[in-house]
């Protein structure tokens, strides 16, 4: 017996060897790590990307889709900054839909169903082809830390990689633990190897870690789904892509896209769950990690919303030439046989063959208040953290962070100031500011309501907002930048033209406005003003004014229309941003001693010491810090300035 135990034990590193020097080492090649490594390499840094399994590069262990409200905008932001996610999904989607088309422009959102294996392979291949970038399979056990500064990593095979900066993006691998009913085992996502020793090493180096949980639903064989009587959800006819660089001509006709299907749970399903809650580790007290409210398990839904007799279940394809289907809405941790039973109670799945059970997974996170807005750790210098490691959830949230961590890890090597996106610049800015300022007590997901300037942070204008930054940091080519400037000019020129053209009233136009219940025009009307009427769109406007020399790109038309129709609201938000800008520019010195400031309330002091905000604006967003604390803080900082000049 003892011999067997010896065999099962993981050995410690006893022999090490020097495996090379890098500028940036990225640990973990999920959606955060892939973006981080590509960005650093493309910015000219010698970069190493380490992953526990090469089969898991940019893998989607959960929902096979990219985008949606807020998240889709993040993908476009990543694209505008020179990241990869948008291009990668445009190459590998199997269905594309624009959501919220009936609503205002601020909340329209693109979502794709991904071919998850193609997505992984495409990203892996992009990484393989990248100059300056080395991809290698390895488990990192230890950080090399000297004087609170990271200098490299050590793998379980004893390889020491020296690094100027390190990005940690270890996802749910960190001491991951999977639960299926009574079964419980140590594992990373999708049965990959977990990372155990790195967590211990981080704790030794002074990090506080917390446990979060998430989960995934079962998968079924698509050939065993009965589609009669369940609702088909096809993709869009009208072409849309995530990347601003993907041409319309690349769009897949709907006939080549794969539909999703909608079905529902029912009282029988709910009864199975209620009768067996004692076997659900989420409910019998076995799992104590904190799960996300916005992505509840089916057990959660049945218990918390007991009066609902059905919940939606979306059947989503996982790829082409792949009959595995994702049963969206059925995330759970019930024992395998009950999962099968639950599935069979659902219309369309009566005879479905389950291929893998769903599971709950618990993992370590590094509470993100330990991170600066640059994503560098406050605990250890030159160490950056990104993705689920920081307590977020979602591929897009991970990728956005990974990109920023990669950019700033590279800039740190280059001796440049970090790039910090403001809340008014991007959803990515909202995400990172929320993390570092407020932390999170559940896996953090972006929602449009988290953004106070969501009319500015639109899906359609991500390129306008961020391409200049992407170009400045060297991730956007000159050629693409020129194309961007041309688009920008086309938008501005046409807006100017519409502000000056006057439409003269005639029978045709008056018949049109009267058909919409408006009074006939007596005098002329400025074209832009006419476009502001709810029933007028750009195509209609062109019936009454001369067209441009060249027909405008639909994306240009979109920008113009939004800018003119919602000008009043956009201006109002811009004014708010301008006022905050001055507060954003008031920097708090890094060496400030909050204990020395009389008059700040104790709670405020504690919070300020913990978060260490970098600007007065950030300080004002910390809960528990009062306006009077902020007033005193700004006077205190001003004292220092006056003292210096005197």
């Amino acid at each position: 017996m003892t011999e067997k135990k010896e065999v099962l034990k993981t050995t410690d590193v006893t022999h090490t060897y020097n495996a090379g020097d890098y500028d940036v080492v990225v640990v973990g090649a999920g959606h955060a790590g892939s973006e981080a490594a590509l960005a650093a390499a493309r910015m000219g840094q010698k970069t190493l990307l380490l992953t526990i399994s090469l089969e898991m590069v940019a893998f989607m262990p959960c929902n096979p889709s990219v985008g949606g409200p807020a998240k889709g905008t993040v993908v476009r932001e990543i694209d505008a900054l020179g990241g990869e996610m948008g291009k990668n999904i445009d190459k590998t989607y199997i269905q594309m839909r624009l959501l919220n088309t009936g609503k205002g422009p601020a909340v329209q959102a693109l979502r794709a169903q991904a071919d998850k294996h193609a997505y992984h392979q495409e990203m892996k291949n992009t990484i393989e082809k990248e100059d300056n970038l080395t991809l290698r399979q390895a488990i990192v056990d230890n950080l090399v830390v000297n004087d609170n500064r990271v200098e490299g990593v050590i793998t379980n095979t004893g390889a020491i990689y020296h690094a100027k900066t390190v990005v940690l993006a270890t996802g749910t691998s960190a001491r991951g633990q999977i639960y299926i009913g009574e079964l419980r085992y140590s594992s990373g996502p999708n049965n990959s190897l977990p990372s155990i020793k790195l967590s211990e090493n981080l704790e030794k180096n002074g990090f506080n870690l917390e446990r979060f949980k998430t989960g995934t639903p079962p998968r079924v064989n698509g050939n065993t789904i009965d589609h009669s009587g369940i609702e088909e959800q096809p993709g869009d006819e009208k072409p849309h892509h995530f990347s601003f660089m993907t041409p319309y001509s690349d769009y897949l006709p709907v006939s080549e896209q794969i539909s999703c299907w909608l079905t529902y749970t029912n009282p029988t399903t709910h009864q199975i769950i209620r009768d067996n809650l004692d076997r659900s580790p989420l409910f019998n007290g076995v799992i104590d990690g904190i799960g996300p409210r916005y992505c509840p398990s089916i057990e959660d839904k049945v218990v918390r919303f007991a009066d609902k007799d059905r919940h939606q279940v979306f059947l989503e394809p996982e790829g082409r030439g792949n009959d595995e289907w994702y049963v969206d809405g059925m995330s759970n941790s019930m024992p395998e046989e009950l999962q099968q039973e639950m599935l069979h109670s659902i219309k369309g799945l009566e005879n479905a063959k389950m291929m893998r059970p769903g599971y709950a997974i618990e993992y370590d996170i590094i509470p993100p208040q330990q991170m600066k807005p640059s994503m560098e750790s406050k605990v250890i210098e030159n160490l950056f953290t990104a993705g689920q490691t920081n307590g977020t959830s979602g591929y897009e949230e991970a990728a956005g962070q990974g990109l920023m961590a990669g950019i700033n890890a590279a800039r740190k090597v280059q001796g440049k100031d970090p790039i910090i996106l403001k809340r008014s610049d991007a959803y990515i800015g909202v995400l990172i500011d929320d993390l570092v300022t407020k932390g999170t007590n559940e896996p953090y997901r972006l929602l449009t309501s988290r953004a106070e300037y969501r009319l500015l942070l639109r899906n359609d204008n991500a390129d306008m907002r961020l391409t200049p930054i992407g170009h400045e940091i060297g991730l956007i080519s000159d050629e693409r930048y020129e194309a961007f400037l041309a688009k920008k000019k086309a938008v501005e020129d046409e807006i100017n033209r519409l502000e000056t053209i006057r439409i003269k009233p005639n029978d045709q136009i008056n018949e049109f406005v009267q058909s919409h219940g408006d009074k006939p025009l007596k005098d002329g009307i400025i074209a832009a003003q006419f476009l502001r009427r709810p029933y007028v769109d750009y195509a209609k406007l062109l019936e009454y004014i001369p067209a441009t020399d060249e027909p405008l790109d639909p994306r240009v038309v979109e920008q113009i229309t939004i800018y003119i129709k919602y000008a009043g609201y956009i201006k109002k938000e811009e004014e708010k941003v301008n006022r905050m800008k001055k507060m954003e520019s008031k920097k708090i010195p890094e060496k400030i001693d909050y204990d020395a400031i009389d008059g700040i309330a104790t709670e405020g002091k504690e919070k300020l010491k913990q978060i260490q905000p970098t600007t007065i604006a950030q300080a004002s967003r910390i809960s528990g810090v009062n306006p009077s604390d902020i007033a005193i803080l700004s006077v205190y900082i001003q004292q220092g300035k006056i003292a210096k000049t005197e």
């Binding site: 449009t448 609201y569 009077s628 006077v635």
Partner: protein
């Protein structure tokens, strides 16, 4: 998002002490000061008058056909040679507190934000007007006042008002959460789709409710400001001299204002920034003068009405039955015990009084010692600002101008929602203004917190896949 104040808004406040008659000044500071003044001032063109001049004219309500609100003098002080180094406008109002409040509301409605206590001075410092040696004082000022004033404003919030506001906020957040769910989970079928019609109905409901509240706030209750304060004690203990000292030293009796129904037996006084409404001062004089046996009944009535009781004892004589009765009657009141005539030998057992009649602030005073009055003022101020004794009246006093202005802002936002729907804008656009209204109302009750909306969303809807 909760309301955010910045150092760059244009701010305004009544800069003369509250409760004081005669001229009151509404001060506006910031880059929009001139613009705001021009909207509500009719007289010379303020853009053309020289800096540091004072100009005759009228304040009007532009939303109400320019109807005249007050005859005023307006001082124009242009940056940078002003107290805050920003443009400053000071409106000298003549029509009493009620009118001054109305002028302030107009200023706030037309683009200014209510100043935090000490904020003018804070700006003076931040803009380099005050030097380093004074900065400690600035911080103390902010420290001492801001939180207390906020607390005071919250404490003074009438129970009915806050209940009404909470109800409105709940109504709004139901709609907001619903809109958010429609946006973030467009395929979720468990939530009603918020249509323009539904949004319009809700907005109109809320508008009517805010208007109702504003109407009650403006029904001339301003004059009945302040804490109801009863001075009690048996004859000849020195109530009258205490009263006179409070009145004369402050020189701040609010004279009767025509058209109000003020009780002529009452007087108003401003003690260290706290407006006191002294109950039955006539009764005090009367009984002291006549040296007749007064009814404890009269005191009992006063104590019942009082938010604060000043109980005077003669420390040079042992307790009488009447003293005991008064001590007993005021046991549960917010009370300050004044030990008068301490220049004479002490005959009272203070510890025993405390043990038998409950603990209270005790202040030693005598006709000769000035410091007793100062201590009393400090004690009252502390009880008011720090310990938060509240007026039982539906008071709309200076700190509560904040409430009115927030209600007004909320009303304006709701109106914008209604207009936006009329102009055919989508629900998720107009809800920006509905959310501002919700934030403004939350600032009144102090209820808003980060992620409040998010919590509502997840409590109410079973969302997520």
């Amino acid at each position: 998002m909760p309301l955010m104040t910045t150092d760059y808004d244009t701010i305004a406040a009544i800069s003369t002490a509250p409760g004081v008659g005669g001229i009151s000044i509404v001060r506006i500071s910031g880059s929009d000061a001139m613009k705001i003044a021009k909207k509500i001032y009719r007289g010379k063109d303020l853009d053309k008058v020289a800096t540091d001049t004072i100009n005759y004219g009228h304040i009007v309500d532009p939303a109400n056909d320019d109807s005249r609100v007050d005859e005023v003098m307006v001082s124009v002080m242009r940056a940078p040679k002003t107290y805050t180094k920003e443009d400053i406008i000071e409106i000298n109002c003549h029509g009493g507190i009620q009118v001054t409040n109305k002028v302030l509301q107009l200023v706030l409605r037309n683009g200014a934000r209510m100043a935090e206590p000490g904020e003018f001075t804070k700006r003076a410092f931040l803009n380099g007007r005050i030097d380093l040696s004074q900065s400690e004082a600035v911080m103390d000022l902010i420290d001492a006042k801001t939180d207390e004033a906020r607390k005071a404003a919250l404490n003074q919030l009438d129970g009915n008002l806050s209940a009404a506001i909470r109800k409105m906020r709940q109504k709004i957040v139901d709609v907001l959460a619903n809109v958010e769910v429609n946006i973030d989970y467009p395929e979720y079928d468990g939530a009603e789709v918020v249509t323009s019609k539904l949004m319009l109905d809700k907005a109109q409901e809320i508008k009517a409710e805010i208007e109702k509240l504003l109407a009650t706030a403006q029904q001339g209750k301003v004059l009945r400001d302040g804490l109801n304060t009863a001075i009690v004690g048996r004859p000849n203990v020195g109530k009258s001299s205490l009263l006179n000292r409070l009145l004369h030293e402050e020189k701040a009796i609010v004279t009767d204002v025509p058209g109000t129904t003020r009780d002529v037996l009452d007087e108003y006084v401003n003690v260290a920034g706290v407006p006191l409404h002294l109950i039955d001062t006539a009764g005090i004089r009367e009984t002291e003068d006549k040296v007749e046996k007064i009814g404890v009944d009269r005191s009992r009535a006063a104590i019942k009405k009082a938010d604060l009781v000043l109980l005077v004892l003669n420390s040079s004589e042992p307790l009488t039955d009447e003293d005991r009765q008064l001590l007993d009657l005021t046991r549960d009141s917010k009370r300050v015990i004044l030990l008068n005539k301490t220049d004479l030998p002490m005959k009272l057992d203070i510890e025993k009084i405390k043990a038998e009649y409950g603990n209270s602030d005790m202040i030693k005073t005598s006709a000769m010692a000035e410091n007793g009055t100062k201590t009393l003022e400090d004690t009252i101020s502390q009880m008011f600002f720090t310990k938060g004794i509240a007026s039982t009246q539906n008071s709309v006093m200076v700190t509560n101008a904040r409430h009115i202005s927030l209600l007004q802002q909320a009303l304006d936002s709701v109106q914008t929602v209604i207009d936006g729907i009329g102009a055919g804008l989508p629900v998720d656009i107009v809800q920006i203004d509905l959310q501002s209204a919700w934030d403004d109302l939350g600032a009144i009750t102090g209820d808003s917190y980060d992620d409040e909306l998010m919590d509502q969303l997840f409590d109410q809807f079973c969302i997520g896949k």
